[in-house]
């Protein structure tokens, strides 16, 4: 069990990788399409909401030390609820990771490997994730922690290198479609942080459980910052993106980067880093689906599950027949699945668990008072 314990930095890296990987693909474009020029305001707003929700979840988790969301589900509804919740979480993560890998494979195919079947590219990614998981969770988290600074630096380079090309006035009209679309309907854009589900599962892995709050707050703020940088860069650089016309939005930005006449076409470097990001992302998600599956069937062995889960992810990658189906899965299914599973179901379980615990503690206190009174009466 000690092999699964990780430090604060490794934990933050794990959470960030699952959000950043969405950012490389269609997420900024989707945020821009729904809020137009108010996208920067919206990102700040949803980051604030997610932070408040996380602090609320931390409060709800307080009575459950060293427990994850599945333990809370078991406490609330017994083994049956735990099995139902863990199955829903597994299906959610398998579906999302499968779609994301299919999307990235399609991107790679469009840019470099035109003649290679995208199924083969997906298989390559999944096999690497399997290989990484055969070495264990700790090796996955450590490799991810090593990669993380490079991934974040590439996003910073994108932002800084094109800073002079930005047109700040493109941030206007400041309210985009209007107040309602930015702040009321726009609140649903918290789906961008849908992969924060990992935060509800990470607690038992932390070597220092008191750091859970720090891990959550740091990863939400960092993810929010990089989401803000990506959306702002797109908005200030490509006004036509707001019309939903940019498909490979962040890749389009990298194609504009050049340092004088000497350093041109640096996009290949970014693609390399992003491929590593997706290797890491898939390894992390596979690790967590494994953890859920092991808890579901109360097993200590993980190797048999690795292949089954990997095969399931591969099957999901085969579902979309074209890019519009991938976009539908990314923008609609992922959005509502995240809102229902991560921000709906998880919070419902936490609230029920919290009140059940408080109620039982209250009963215990009443019982102990009764016993004390009876003892004093007898004496």
């Amino acid at each position: 069990m000690n092999n699964d314990k990780i430090g604060t930095l490794e934990a933050i890296s794990l959470v960030i990788i699952v959000i950043i990987s969405h950012l490389i693909l269609n997420l900024p474009n989707e945020l821009l399409s729904s809020t137009l020029s108010a996208a920067t305001l919206n990102v700040i707003y949803i980051t604030g909401i997610v932070l408040l929700l996380f602090l609320f979840a931390t409060k709800l988790f307080k009575p459950f030390k060293n427990k994850d969301i599945l333990d809370v589900a078991e406490y609330v509804g017994g083994d049956i609820l735990k099995k139902i919740v863990s199955t829903i979480y597994s299906l959610h993560l398998i579906f999302i990771s499968g779609i994301l890998i299919a999307s990235f494979a399609d991107t790679i195919k469009a840019i470099y490997l035109q003649n290679m079947p995208s199924e083969l590219i997906c298989l390559l990614f999944i096999l690497i994730a399997v290989l990484a998981n055969l070495f264990g969770f700790k090796s996955v988290s450590r490799t991810n922690a090593i990669l993380m600074p490079f991934i974040l630096i590439t996003i910073l380079i994108i932002f800084i290198s094109l800073f002079t090309a930005f047109v700040p006035e493109r941030i206007f009209p400041i309210l985009g479609y209007g107040v309602n679309e930015t702040f009321v309907m726009g609140a649903s854009n918290i789906f961008a942080f849908g992969e924060l589900l990992i935060l509800f599962l990470i607690k038992p892995n932390l070597s220092d459980n008191k750091q859970a709050k720090k891990v959550g707050v740091s990863s939400i703020l960092l993810s929010g910052l990089f989401l803000l940088l990506s959306v702002t860069a797109l908005l200030l650089l490509f006004p036509f993106i707001t019309g939903g016309e940019g498909v490979l939005s962040i890749y389009m930005i990298t194609r504009s980067i050049h340092f004088g006449n000497f350093f041109q076409r640096v996009d290949a470097l970014f693609i390399l880093i992003w491929a590593l990001t997706f290797f890491s992302y898939l390894s992390v998600v596979l690790s967590y689906i494994l953890k859920i599956a092991k808890k579901n069937v109360v097993s200590k062995k993980s190797t048999p599950f690795i292949f089954i889960i990997a095969a399931s992810i591969f099957i999901v990658t085969l579902i979309p027949q074209n890019i519009s189906q991938i976009r539908f899965a990314e923008n609609v299914i992922y959005k509502y699945s995240s809102l229902i599973v991560v921000f709906g179901l998880s919070f419902l379980i936490l609230i029920l668990g919290y009140f059940k615990k408080k109620k039982s503690e209250g009963l215990v206190q009443i019982d102990s008072k009764k016993i004390n009174n009876e003892v004093s009466d007898e004496s």
């Binding site: 137009l36 020029s37 469009a110 840019i111 490997l113 003649n115 290679m116 083969l120 298989l123 390559l124 096999l127 690497i128 399997v130 290989l131 055969l134 070495f135 047109v167 006035e169 493109r170 206007f172 009209p173 400041i174 309210l175 985009g176 479609y177 209007g178 490509f238 006004p239 036509f240 019309g243 016309e245 389009m252 194609r255 504009s256 050049h258 006449n261 041109q264 076409r265 190797t303």
Partner: protein, 410 residues
């Protein structure tokens, strides 16, 4: 544990196999023909005519005498009549026996004729092509695009691609055109703040131009491409800016108007302008603009745009005469006043030309106007691009002339 090791080794073998599977299908340099520039013309029958300037690798005997090819320095030109860009590329692929690759394409040339009819449909295809770089230049040729490419003979550069790269940046030294890229052009085309503009190109026939028709008041900066009185061998030249309304060419700006445009969009690096001498009416004083900064404010009064550009320019005197005391404070002030009025009048002419004649906001004042609106709905209803034709301007110019670079006093 042993089984786990075997599984790991098997996965590594599969991974290596998958990685090498793709090698057979990879295009190598032997299979590719690199396009340096791409030309768009329209035929009499209304069909698209694509012209490709293809780089000839060193050591190859380029320029076959095929019916559709002609030689031009280290490149050949192939052209094809087609319905779409992709089918045209396929036809040329079949003729050349190689796959055309656009990843080194430095310039996209549209003929004036096709640009007047509208180039929107081609723009979407070009911007979505993974091979074409967004930094590739957009040139509007005053002549046929095929003729333009045929005459692009690098005089001082051994490579055609290098020639296009360097030629487009000459705007930094002269200010006579704008270094417009595909990305900038498409951004302006697709957004609701501004209209697009491109580099204006033409063929200089070595001093046989009709320069009298375009130069005004004897000013050397008021030419457009193909009209400059340069006496050299026939070659392409870029001078001026092609102005678009939506995706259609509506007019052109000459060299001096291009300088005004670059000043207003804060893109002017350096330029030399001649102003009439305040001391002698027949003479000119050359000013070398070293720095310019423009800040614009847009007000909307009763639905009419009122635009106030505020321009600050630093310049130094580069021409000399035997009896002008340029170091004299009063003379310097006189030159500054003359320069202020001269530049202001040209900027006013440029602004009213784009507003009233072209009805096209190529300067992009819309991006200042948009801050007056809170939501897209209100902005869209206002329709800035159509309202720009009603705009009024109040230009303020502040030229600061330095004479300290003079080596000797006059």
């Amino acid at each position: 544990m042993k089984a786990k090791k075997i599984v790991i080794i098997l996965i590594v073998i599969v991974l290596l196999s998958v990685t090498f599977l793709g090698i057979n299908s990879v295009n190598t340099i032997d299979n590719l023909a690199y396009v340096v520039s791409l030309g768009f013309d329209i035929t009499d029958s209304g069909k698209l005519e694509l012209s490709f300037q293809i780089a000839v690798p060193a050591g190859s005997s380029g320029g076959s005498s095929g019916s559709t090819s002609s030689q031009s320095s280290s490149s050949i030109i192939s052209s094809v009549e087609c319905n779409t860009i992709e089918t045209g590329i396929n036809l040329v692929n079949s003729y050349l026996g190689k796959k055309l690759n656009l990843s080194h394409c430095k310039a996209i040339v549209f003929s004036e004729e096709i640009a007047t009819k509208g180039i929107g449909e081609y723009l979407y295809t070009l911007i979505n092509n993974i091979e074409i770089r967004p930094t590739c230049n957009i040139i509007i040729s005053k002549c046929n695009a095929k003729y333009f490419l045929n005459n692009s003979k690098p005089l001082l550069e051994p490579l055609s691609s290098k020639y296009y790269e360097v030629a487009s940046t000459s705007a930094r030294n002269t200010g006579f055109t704008s270094d417009t890229t595909l990305q900038e052009f498409f951004s302006s085309f697709a957004d609701s703040f501004s209209e697009c503009f491109a580099i204006l190109g033409g063929i200089n026939n070595g001093g046989n131009s009709n320069s009298d028709s375009s130069a005004t008041e004897g000013n050397d900066s008021t030419y457009t491409a193909s009209d400059t009185p340069v006496d050299s061998q026939t070659n392409i030249e870029t001078m001026g800016i092609a102005v678009f309304k939506e995706d259609k060419l509506v007019g052109e700006l000459n060299g001096l108007e291009s300088i005004c445009h670059l000043i207003l969009v804060n893109e002017l690096k350096n330029a030399t302008i001649s102003i009439p001498s305040p001391f002698e009416s027949t003479n000119y004083i050359d000013l070398y603009i070293t720095k310019s900064k423009s800040k614009s404010k847009v007000y909307i009064s009763n639905g009419t745009p009122f635009i106030k550009p505020n321009i600050k320019i630093e310049a130094r005197i580069v021409s000399m005469s035997d009896d002008y005391k340029y170091l004299n404070k009063e003379n310097l002030e006189l030159i500054e006043n003359y320069a202020n009025n001269y530049i202001k009048s040209y900027i006013n002419n440029y602004l009213y030309k784009t507003s009233k004649e072209f009805k096209s906001d190529v300067t992009g004042f819309g991006r200042y106007a948009v801050s007056k609106f809170l939501t897209w709905d209100k902005w869209d209803k206002y329709n800035w691009l159509d309202n720009y034709q009603n705009a009024f301007f109040d230009v303020s110019v502040d030229v600061h002339v330095k004479s300290r670079y003079l080596i000797i006093d006059t």
